[in-house]
Symmetry: C2
Subunit: 200 residues, 2 copies
């Protein structure tokens, strides 16, 4: 994908770093107004006064721009293929290990910021909803080929978001300080049930 | 428990409704400063300028005052005995049905307000933590006589809080609009596993 373009956008005259910051701000505003689905790279670029090609050049597309704008410390497009590659019956364990590595590493404050936005702002809640549904778990359930993919997606989200709340925000011990093996050993069977078990 | 008292507190000269409002405000401030455990009825009453006996008379004690001050729409002291009375293997189902009745009835906004406080304020997070641990789930795990009561408490909280997030805040479909039977059928087995299952 080329970053050159025939049109010379107004962003071209400013520094690249400025343009990146404007893009992130425009992305946050546009995702909040229109939601993840309806926001287009073209709209966001126009709002930032930069060329749409720059989004692909600097961020690699809408999904990456979203994770950058929301300060989500992992890019699903990068990690999902690896996660989906192994034994489907151990997918919950791999998802949980990734979740813990990412959010332990980022510090609980970033998880709290995400939850605070979602609980105080319908736009942020919608973005998080669409991201969790469309970007993360839809790919997982499609890959698994299971029944009730939407319901399983939502059920998985209850467990993963609830784990984040207990570990990083409400800080319920002994879970908040538990090592990854303990969390995985106790939570993975339940998450796996939502992914591939009989929903009754 | 008598509401009369030999001492004549300053609250006696004001209207009962005023005193109730002052008590709720003093309770919120004191719980936030000291946490649920350390806040005493005596401290809260002194701050509100009312007699401690009035707390028992109007609210029935510290726990009821807390649920009133936090606008938690159910009083664990009232409902837990009934919940704990039945078959322990169906306790998760009874807990979930109560959770759904309470929060569906109160409207998702009140759940969102609770989560927003906890995610933006360490005092609110501590109050929620102590309430979930000491008032709700400790009684449940003590009643059950299970191993790892603290860990089970925290794991139950991940599922119940996560369900509330998905249903009332992020509004993940089809879970957000699902009837109670569907939620109970899909979630209760996992919650029951945290209550009484083998944690590995």
């Amino acid at each position: 994908m080329s970053s050159s373009d025939e049109r010379s956008g107004p962003g071209k005259q400013r520094s690249g770093n400025d343009a990146g910051q404007r893009l992130l701000a425009a992305a946050r505003a546009t995702f909040a107004e229109l939601g993840y689905e309806s926001a287009t790279v073209r709209t966001i670029a126009a709002r930032a006064g930069v060329d749409p090609a720059m989004v692909n050049h600097r961020f690699g597309g809408k999904e990456h721009l979203f994770t950058a704008a929301m300060a989500i410390p992992v890019d699903p497009a990068e990690v999902l293929p690896g996660l989906l590659g192994g034994d489907p019956q151990q997918l919950a364990e791999r998802l949980l290990r990734l979740f813990l590595e990412v959010w332990d590493g980022a510090g609980g404050g970033r998880f709290a910021a995400l939850v605070r936005s979602a609980s105080s702002n319908e736009s942020a809640a919608r973005m998080l909803r669409e991201f969790v549904q469309d970007v993360v778990f839809r790919r997982v359930t499609e890959h698994l080929g299971v029944d009730h993919p939407e319901l399983r997606t939502a059920l998985c989200a209850t467990q993963v978001v609830g784990l984040g709340m207990a570990r990083y925000i409400v800080r319920l011990e002994p879970l908040a300080s538990a090592d990854h093996d303990t969390v995985v050993r106790t939570v993975a069977p339940n998450l796996q049930h939502y992914l591939t078990g009989d929903l009754g």
